[in-house]
């Protein structure tokens, strides 16, 4: 049996196809930009990491097994895990508070969260330097108050780097968490309470699972940003905190060794993708990327 089509069916279908093409054309400039600016350099980077002179080689990757690099890798991961962990511990309650209060108060709280993002990264790092150094504000106050005899070593080391990084990363944890938490209907926790859950049980059984997509998004952003971070460890680490990113910088500026730098970059990218994949396995990619 053949379907009887109205005489204008063909015209309608053509119009629909044309509309689809028009939408595709609108997306083209953006796709092109991403292709040229982001994807092409990555392919180039990948290519470079396997070249020495004109020959194909694994030499750059083999060199990464040297203890200096392994130590760097360890430092990078230690710092990243610690900073991400502290960001979760500080960010979750902050986002929770912000999501619970009235919209007006929430806006003010968010302003405090966002304000640091609007100031230069460099300025914030130097500000921490002023606060944390041997004769900085914090040490001066503490010694004047008689709480400590000798100034604490707060900066130019791992501790200072962690403090600075947490400060810089916190907004990236709070914002996705807050967005997710705002969208959690109050009725869910009410329903849990109605069914007999204490406030603590309702929080852990219902609220936390529902906020996981936001938490995962925050963790991924912070984790990946931390992995490749350069400025803060360089300024507040005082040369004692050798991050993966600094090894890249060294290879390029001191040794002009693009092959080695590329290999480091490829490894960093691979690690970032691995983290994304791992979190995605636990939470589900669709939920992180916004679907529900």
């Amino acid at each position: 049996m053949s379907t009887v089509l109205a005489p204008n069916a063909e015209a309608l279908r053509t119009a629909e196809r044309r509309e689809g093409l028009a939408l595709g054309a609108l997306a083209a400039p953006g796709l092109l930009l991403i292709g040229i600016v982001a994807l092409a350099p990555i392919v180039w980077l990948f290519w470079l990491s396997f070249r020495t002179g004109d020959a194909f080689t694994f030499e750059h990757y083999v060199r990464l097994l040297h203890p200096t690099y392994l130590l760097s890798l360890r430092t990078t991961f230690e710092l990243t895990f610690l900073v991400t962990g502290i960001c979760v511990l500080l960010g979750y309650p902050l986002a929770y508070l912000t999501a619970q209060v009235k919209q007006r108060t929430a806006s003010i709280l968010l302003l405090f969260v966002l304000f640091p993002v609007w100031t230069s990264l460099l300025v914030r790092c130097y500000a921490w330097l002023v606060l944390l150094q041997r004769r900085g504000l914090i040490n001066t106050w503490l010694t004047d108050a008689g709480l400590i005899d000798l100034p604490l070593r707060l900066v130019h080391n791992f501790t200072g780097t962690v403090i600075g990084m947490v400060h810089i990363m916190l907004p990236f944890m709070v914002l996705p968490l807050y967005a997710t938490m705002r969208s959690i209907d109050r009725d869910y926790t009410r329903a849990a309470a109605n069914l007999g859950a204490t406030p603590t049980q309702a929080f852990w059984h219902v609220y936390v699972p529902l906020s996981l997509p936001g938490l995962a998004a925050g963790i991924i952003i912070v984790f990946i940003l931390c992995l490749g971070f350069y400025v803060t460890p360089a300024l507040l680490g005082g040369g004692r905190v050798m991050m993966w990113s600094m090894q890249i910088e060294r290879n390029v500026t001191y040794h002009s060794d693009w092959g080695a730098a590329s290999a480091l970059g490829v490894v960093l990218l691979a690690m970032a993708l691995a983290i994304f994949w791992a979190v995605g396995r636990v939470i589900g990619f669709q939920r992180i990327l916004g679907g529900r």
Partner: protein, 309 residues
């Protein structure tokens, strides 16, 4: 919300039986609630949702399983236990929400406009189902609704609330047939009101005495309640013996399928409406602008005070 403990009352006391629960925390009340948007936990399956209140009460694993499957039976959702909440239709979610609210055998079941999100046909089906379930369980159920017809169909007793106060509590028939104030009469069903004067035991409408089924109670600013279906359109020349008569001209005819709504401007100037069932035995309706006489039986002649009680 106050009953479930999510909102603290401004004043007054709340008791279940003898226990004062005004300040009791929500999770200690043992009240089952069906939320307006169901509030099923999206991160749990249907089984998970139903088992949750039982797990909180440390019910043993095998008991949980049998009670969950019994609850699914009760709401006709056998085999849906492993579904995720977002794989259910609106009506199915409604049933799961209901099952979750009764599975832990609460003392009281609260339903906060549970059917308002469903389309009309499904809503009417669910009304009947909820009623059957209620009859089987015999659980005291507080059912909040803005749908007056739903209130009348579902309830043993109806409480009409206005600005946080009970205006009238009674059986559905009492609420509808014997409203105590203008607010109740206007809230439930469509009504028109005509001012009446009381003189002793007689009520006068435009100077003419009305036939009443019983003596009118003394009240301020009495009004005659006119419900469209209580007014009978009289055939031309029909005397309407034993009825209170209203005369006027037809201003509008609204055909509604099972009945026709006739808007009439009375000779005294007020507008009323009469509903005539679509039946061949009913007298033919006059054209718009034509003269019409409406009859109102004394038993249906109800007076209410204008001011809220």
């Amino acid at each position: 919300m106050v009953l479930a403990g999510f909102t603290r009352p401004d004043s007054g006391r709340l008791t279940f039986g003898d226990a004062d629960i005004t300040l009791a925390a929500p999770h200690k009340r043992g009240v089952g609630m069906v939320f307006q948007n169901y509030a099923l936990f999206p991160h749990m399956s249907v089984n998970g949702n139903l088992a949750y209140p039982l797990k909180l009460r440390s019910v043993s694993r095998s008991d949980v399983e049998s009670r969950v499957s019994r609850a699914l039976d009760m709401v006709h959702l056998q085999g849906f236990g492993d579904r995720q909440v977002d794989q259910l239709s609106g009506g199915q979610r409604q049933r799961v929400a209901l099952a979750r609210a009764i599975i832990f055998e609460p003392r009281i079941l609260l339903m906060d406009e549970p059917l308002s999100a469903l389309d009309k046909k499904l809503r009417e089906e669910m009304q009947i189902e909820v009623r059957h379930l209620h009859q089987r369980l015999g659980m005291t159920t507080v059912y909040v609704t803005h749908d007056q017809r739903e209130a009348l169909t579902m309830s043993d007793r109806v409480a009409v609330i206005d600005h946080g106060r009970f205006r009238q509590i009674g059986r559905p028939r009492e609420i509808y047939e014997r409203p105590q104030t203008r607010f109740i009469a206007a809230f439930i069903g469509e009504s028109h009101f005509l001012p009446v004067t009381l003189r002793g035991d007689a009520a006068l409408l435009g100077g003419q005495p009305l036939m009443l089924a019983s003596k009118p109670a003394a009240m301020a600013a009495p009004l005659l309640v006119l419900r469209p279906e209580k007014l009978r359109v009289l055939a031309p020349g029909e005397a309407g013996a034993g009825l209170n008569l209203l005369r006027g001209r037809v201003t509008e005819l609204v055909y509604q399928g099972e009945s026709t709504l006739v808007y009439v401007d009375l000779d005294s100037g007020q507008r009323v409406a009469a509903r005539q069932a679509a039946s061949a035995s009913a007298p033919p309706l006059p054209e718009i602008g034509g003269a019409i006489a409406l009859g109102l039986a004394p038993a249906d002649t109800i007076l209410v005070p204008d001011a809220p009680a």
